[in-house]
């Protein structure tokens, strides 16, 4: 818990900085794994990820940022060639 002295507080509650990212990847129980061989680089997974944990690299290669992926499974469900599988995590 943040203990701030009264003097350090601004005159009104105003958020002035971005929160450092929280590792929401810890939430998941299954994780998406992209099969590079099957992937047709359509970008559907990237488009539909609600947490933007699918990243597009320069060569249109798609990777998962596992630190933030919550394991919802939308990418696997929407992939038109079923190149993503949801793998159980312990």
């Amino acid at each position: 818990m943040n203990e701030k002295k009264n003097d350090d507080l601004p005159e009104l509650p105003v958020a002035s900085k971005l929160r450092p990212p929280v590792e929401t990847g810890l939430w998941r129980t299954t994780k998406p794994v992209i099969n590079g061989g099957k992937c047709i680089k359509c970008g559907t997974c990237w488009m539909y990820c609600p947490d933007r944990a699918v990243c597009r690299q320069e060569d249109r290669e798609y990777t998962i940022e596992y630190a933030y992926c919550k394991g919802c499974g939308i990418c696997a469900e929407e992939c038109p060639v079923k190149a993503i599988s949801m793998v159980a995590e312990v």
């Binding site: 958020a15 929160r19 609600p50 933007r52 939308i74």
Partner: protein, 291 residues
Amino acid sequence: MRDDLVAAGGPLCPGCGAALALQYALNTLGKKTVLLTTPGCACMGTLTFDLQTLVRVPQIFTLFENPAAPATGVKAGLDRSGLEMNVLCFVGDGGTVDLGLGGVTGAAERGDPVIYICYDNEAYMNTGIQRSGATPYGAWTTTTPVGERMKGKGRFSKDMPMIMASSGAAYVATASVAYIDDYVEKIRRAEEVTIRNEGMAYIHVQAPCPTGWRFDTSETIKLARLAVKTGIWQLYEIYKGKRLLSWKPKERVPVSEYLKAQGRFRHLTDGQIDVIQSHVDEVWRRIDETL
């Protein structure tokens, strides 16, 4: 990680439709946007409780029941100082259809050039899945529960896009998170309308909620698509007095496919499903007539 206007590691549910709607709204409009949020799901994705923000745009967290009015004030102030910025209200269905109805339609009637996106998860989700004026007929919610005497919500929802169109909004559109390109295009048109000072732009985007609608988190997009394909969710724009359909299904999928895929409709009797199907048929009959 995408370096965009929404910070990484937000607290919204896995599979949240509103999260998708928010990220495209902000990233399409860009950083010169003042974002107005209200208590609800989306604000959990834009603010924390310890003086830190989750979005890289100036933001005002306003009272639940009236987000459109401060937007009006902000726009007037920005105009006065010569600052060219978008003013975006990103509000849930509860705050728009129930609580904020007077304020939102008032802003439409006044022609305040603000962009108002209502993300419709069809209930007050953040407080625990209570019904709103946008909750569909038959849906289970904690305040329209299912038991011997009650079988979910007893009446259909308010037709908010039409209310906005009748209140003088310059541009009205419906959208779905399953059709992102269409949604983004509509956001761009909304922005143009407000830049040209034609009046208020209103977008009503359906944001399926796995937590409240009771379906697997992976099916958000699938259900949003089904909603459109059954005709339950119509995609259209209303501009300069004309309605333009964004898409007309050649043959509508029976509503039961959409309803049976969600826990909140599990209790529906065949009779109730028929009522819903007739309602959808009637809506489309009227659309066909006016076109």
